[in-house]
Symmetry: C2
Subunit: 334 residues, 2 copies
C-alpha cells in the first residue's frame, strides 16, 4: 500500500521494461511504423501494463509549442458564446488542438491576467472576445509573437485580425426599422459589459439623430441578465412614461423586458416594442417572438479558428477584418 508518490510513467520506464532506449519508444508513439513489428508488440504491451500518459511539458519547453489555443470569453454565462465555441471546436478538434477556455468577467485587468497565464503555458494562439485591451496586454501579445484573432466585432482596428460583424451598423439598422414603423420614443437599454454594447448604443444614436428624434439611453452598471431587463423597465417608465420602444443590448435584457411587460399587462408590440440581439432560442420561441439581430455566431468561431490555425502554420494575414454580416428578424415584438 505505497503512497501514491510513485511518479508518472515515462518513456524511459517503458524502454527499461522492453530493453530499448526511450528514443525507440518515442518513435513508436509518433509513428509505430518506424519500429520493428516485434518491438512494436513488446512496447505495446509494456504501455498497456504501465499505463503511459504522454507528457507535453518537454515539448512545450524545447519547441515552445503546446498545441493548445487559448480562448477568452467575457463570461461563460453569456449564451452568445456557446455557438461561437462550437464553431471554434469544429476546426480545432479535427486539427488536434486543445482548447483552453478562460473568462474575465468583462474586466480588462482580468483579461490581462488570463492572457499572461495562458501565454505562460505557451498557447500557440489566442482568440479574444474583446477589441479593447490594456497596454500591458498588447505588449505581452506583441512580445510573445503569438497569433491573435479578435472575434465578435469589426468596428475597431484589430491587433492582427478580427472576425465578426458590425455591431454599430446592426443596432443602427434595427433602430431605423423601428423609426420606419413609426415609433417615436425609442429607448436604448445597455448594461455593464464590453465595447460592443457601446458600439450598439452609437448605432442607435446615429439613427436617432439622423431622424431628428431624441435619444433616451438607460445604462445599468450591472452585467446583462434577464433580471436586469425585467427590473430596468420600471425605472424607464418612471422617467419616460411615453417610451414606445426598447432596443436592448442583447436578448437576455430583452427577455427580461418582455416578461416584465407581461406582468404589468403592457401589450407588446402595441404599447411597447422590444428588440434584442443575437437571436437566441428563448426569444425565438417566446410569444410574441422577439425581434432580434441574427448573428453568425457559429461561423464567427469557425472562421476565427481557421484563420488562427493557418496563421500558426505561418500563413500571413490576408483579410485583417472579416465581416460575416448579420440579419434582422422582425419577430412579433415590433
Amino acid at each position: 500500500m505505497s503512497k501514491n508518490k510513485a511518479k508518472r510513467t515515462t518513456l524511459q520506464d517503458i524502454a527499461d521494461v522492453v530493453g530499448m532506449t526511450k528514443m525507440t519508444v518515442s518513435r513508436y508513439m509518433k509513428n509505430p511504423n518506424l519500429v520493428k513489428i516485434s518491438s512494436r508488440i513488446e512496447i505495446e504491451s509494456a504501455i498497456s501494463k504501465l499505463g503511459y500518459i504522454p507528457n507535453r511539458a518537454p515539448n512545450i519547453l524545447s519547441k515552445g509549442k503546446s498545441h493548445a489555443i487559448g480562448v477568452l470569453f467575457p463570461s461563460i454565462s453569456n449564451h452568445v458564446f456557446d455557438e461561437v465555441l462550437r464553431g471554434i471546436e469544429s476546426i480545432t478538434e479535427p486539427a488536434g488542438y486543445q482548447i483552453m477556455i478562460a473568462h474575465y468577467s468583462y474586466s480588462k485587468e482580468l483579461e490581462e491576467k488570463r492572457i499572461g497565464s495562458l501565454l505562460g503555458y505557451h498557447v500557440d494562439g489566442l482568440i479574444l472576445s474583446e477589441s479593447v485591451h490594456t497596454a500591458n496586454t498588447l505588449r505581452m501579445i506583441s512580445s510573445s509573437g503569438v497569433p491573435v484573432t479578435e472575434i465578435m466585432d469589426t468596428c475597431t482596428p484589430p491587433i492582427q485580425q478580427a472576425v465578426g460583424f458590425n455591431n454599430m451598423q446592426a443596432s443602427q439598422k434595427m433602430t431605423e426599422k423601428l423609426i420606419q414603423k413609426g415609433y417615436k420614443n425609442i429607448a436604448y437599454i445597455g448594461a455593464k459589459g464590453d465595447v460592443r454594447d457601446i458600439l450598439r448604443q452609437r448605432g442607435y444614436e446615429a439613427a436617432i439623430t439622423e431622424h431628428g428624434l431624441k435619444s433616451l439611453i438607460f445604462r445599468s452598471p450591472d452585467v446583462s441578465s434577464i433580471r436586469l431587463g425585467s427590473e430596468i423597465l420600471d425605472s424607464i417608465l418612471r422617467v419616460h412614461p411615453k417610451v414606445d420602444a426598447a432596443i436592448c443590448t442583447n436578448d437576455d435584457v430583452a427577455m427580461g423586458v418582455l416578461l416584465s411587460c407581461k406582468k404589468k399587462g403592457i401589450l407588446v408590440p402595441d404599447e411597447l416594442a422590444v428588440t434584442g440581439m443575437h437571436g437566441h432560442e428563448m426569444g425565438q420561441l417566446y410569444s410574441p417572438k422577439l425581434a432580434s439581430v441574427i448573428t453568425p455566431r457559429f461561423n464567427i468561431g469557425k472562421v476565427a479558428a481557421e484563420q488562427l490555425l493557418s496563421r500558426i502554420d505561418g500563413v500571413q494575414v490576408i483579410d485583417a477584418c472579416i465581416d460575416l454580416g448579420f440579419e434582422i428578424n422582425d419577430g412579433e415584438s415590433i
Copy 2:
C-alpha cells in the same frame, strides 16, 4: 524589420543584460527581497525593457506541478454550470490556480480524451461533472495520481470524492409533491444527457410506483434545450392526452413546455402542471413562476474546489461524499 522568429525573453536574457546569473533573476521573480536593492532596480528595468512572460513549462517538467486545475463540463451551454464555475473560481482564483475548462458534449469517450489531454499538461487536480466514466478514464486517473472531485450528484460511489446533492431524492420529492396536490397522470420528460437525468427518472418512478400510479416516461435522444421541451409536448399529448403534470429533467425543457402551453392555450397549472430543476433565472421570472428544485450550485463549485485544493496539498479525504442538499420551490406552475 526582422521576422518574429525572435524567441521569447528568458531569465537568461535578462541576466545577460544586467550582468548577473539567471538564478539571481529567478530569485527576484519569486521574492524581490532576496536580491540587493541596487540589483533589484537593474533587473526591474531590464524586465520592463525586454518584456518577460514567465514560462511555466520548466517547472511543470521538473516538478510535475502546473498550478492548474482541469474542470470538465458536459456542455458550456448548460446554464447550470455558470454558477458552479463561479463557485470554483471563488476558491481557485485567490489560491493562484489557473482553471482549464474543457467540455465533452455528454460523451464518455470525449471526456476520456479531454482528461488525457489535461493530464498531458500536468493539471494538479480534476473536477468532473459526471459520475460514470470509461475504464480507461479510471485507469488514467489512478495511474496519474491526480486528485479528482466529482460534482453534482451524490448517488453513485465516487472515484475519490463527490460534492453535490441527491438527484434521485430531489426528483422523488418533487413527484410526491405533485401526487399530494392531486395530480394523477404525471409524465417524466428526459433528454440525452448524463446519469443524473436517469437518476431523476428513477426518483420519479419510485414515487409513482409507491403511490400506485402509472409511470409515463418520455425521453428524447437530443440534448436538452428549450426547443426540445417545446417540441416534445405535442407528442406527449398525442400519446397521453390525459397527462396533467410534466416533471422535466431541467429548467430548459420545462421552459419549452411552458412556452408551448402558452401557444396552445393550455392553462398552467390548471390543465397542466410543469416542474423543472435548478431554479434558473428564466423560470423564476416567468409567469407562472416555474416550480423547480433549487440546487446549491455556487456552493457545489466552492466546496469541490476547497476539497480539491486541500487534497492537492496532501490532506486526506475525510468525507468521500458531501451532500449539500436542495430545496423545492413551488412557484406557480403546480
